[in-house]
């Protein structure tokens, strides 16, 4: 475990030190953390929410949560940026779900969007293949499962929304995604 931490240190060491100070209530360290990570986290919120004002609200909630929960950050379990990113995702997805049903179900050019090489999440993942173990495992998924999992992750679509977007039965969409998740889990478990 310490070796893992050592390997991680190369990339995120200053964020880890900043989070440590934030956990102790150091406001200036919090400001530095905001300076270093807010653009990335804003990118995550905006990608999910699409609307700037909502993404700003989500980012504000993200950082107030980071201030309160920094003490829970465990460097042995997650890299600082992954931990921060998950908080941002959760804030953004919660907002996404709170939108009126009609706006969430607004028609999306699902197939086109998913297959557009520039916009497609799975193409995006492909472009960066081999950057991580996860990327390699995602490449091994069937195209359909891969597209759905990437669309769900990057755009925050529910099962129901995905079913509408690709015009497939809800049960199929659930089945594809669940199998994809199980496949990823076992792929990531391999030594």
């Amino acid at each position: 475990m310490r070796l893992t931490a050592g390997a991680r240190v190369k990339h995120d060491v200053s964020l880890e030190a900043l989070l440590g100070q934030v956990a102790l209530g150091n406001r200036a360290a919090f400001e530095a953390l905001y300076h270093d990570t807010s653009r990335k986290l804003f990118g995550i919120c905006l990608r999910l929410l699409a609307e700037r004002s909502e993404a700003e609200d989500a980012l504000q909630e993200t950082f107030t949560t980071v201030w309160r929960k920094a003490v829970q950050f465990d460097a042995a379990r997650a890299s600082p940026i992954a931990w921060l990113a998950m908080i941002a995702r959760n804030k953004a997805i919660d907002r996404l779900r709170a939108r009126p049903a009609r706006s969430r179900m607004a028609p999306i050019e699902a197939i086109e969007e998913l297959e557009d090489p520039r916009a497609s999440p799975h193409q995006q993942a492909q472009a960066l293949a081999d950057r991580s173990r996860l990327d390699a495992c995602i490449q091994q998924l069937e195209a359909q499962r891969r597209s759905l999992i990437c669309a769900a992750f990057f755009e925050g679509s529910t099962y129901e929304e995905l079913a509408v977007r690709i015009g497939s039965p809800l049960g199929s969409v659930k089945s594809w995604i669940r199998r994809g998740l199980l496949q990823l889990r076992s792929c990531l478990q391999e030594p």
Partner: protein, 250 residues
């Protein structure tokens, strides 16, 4: 569960409710609707085992966020965050060391790596034969005692000049009744105090000394701890009482 992956051709419709681990994965992936998300969030708070499953999926899927491009944030948003936290609007006046965003850039990666290494090791381990992460560390380092006015020890400090870190080990003491927090200062010989960061009263903590201050990390310089308002001293100098101090021994 394994039958889910292997079931031939059964893609349509009939699919059993997911087990807990799969549910956690669905939550992290973001496919659950509002009601399902709330139910899962309640379970995360109430069930440690389930919370660990969620953390496991966050670890599995987290690296996907590397694919998201950073986007410039409107400047007013930082002020909104401060406001939301109930911080005074004028705190920018401080201008202390920590205010400088370049602070962490100025400290070398090596020193910071050492600081992190020091956080993850326990004090007994430091005194034991070196582990891989501390292999380059000298076998033993002198300890500086930071004492109260009456001479009783409050913190033990181990200064690593080469790496520019100071490991502070507190003698456990009750937290300040008025809610103030301990902040560490380095007072160079003939100089004025410079902030090194906040400390914990009950856990050992390593602080990284900024590159430009490392030259002052010599025998005869003083390490001091003051009590400051939550968040740390608002300006470049201590505002509260000095509760412990000691001269660096090397």
């Amino acid at each position: 569960m394994s039958d889910l992956t292997s079931k031939p051709g059964g893609d349509e419709d009939a699919i059993e409710p997911p087990d807990d681990d799969l549910l956690a994965g669905e939550y992290v992936l973001g496919v659950l609707d509002e009601g399902q998300r709330r139910a899962v969030q309640v379970r995360i708070e109430a069930e440690p085992v389930f919370a660990r499953r969620v953390a496991g999926w966050e670890e599995r899927l987290g690296s996907l966020t590397a694919h998201v491009e950073p986007i410039d944030v409107p400047e007013h948003l930082w002020l909104r965050v401060r406001e939301r936290l109930g911080w005074p609007a004028a705190a920018h006046a401080g201008g202390g060391l920590w205010r400088s965003v370049g602070f962490w850039r100025a400290t070398t990666a090596v020193a910071l790596a050492a600081a992190i290494a020091a956080i993850v090791i326990s004090v007994p381990r430091m005194l034991a034969p070196p582990s891989p992460l501390v292999a380059e560390s000298p076998a033993a380092e002198p300890v500086t005692t930071l004492s109260h006015d009456d001479g009783t020890p409050a913190w033990l400090a181990s200064v690593d000049v080469r790496r520019g870190t100071v490991l502070l080990v507190p003698v456990p003491a009750p937290a300040d009744a008025r809610g103030r927090v301990p902040e560490l200062w380095l007072i160079p010989r003939g100089g004025s105090p410079r902030a090194l960061g906040l400390l914990s009263s009950d856990r050992s903590y390593a602080v990284a000394v900024p590159a430009d201050l490392r030259i002052a990390l010599t025998a005869g310089a003083v390490l001091a701890v003051s009590l400051e308002p939550p968040g740390g001293a608002p300006g470049p100098a201590p505002t509260g009482p000095i509760i412990a101090k000691g001269m660096i021994q090397l």
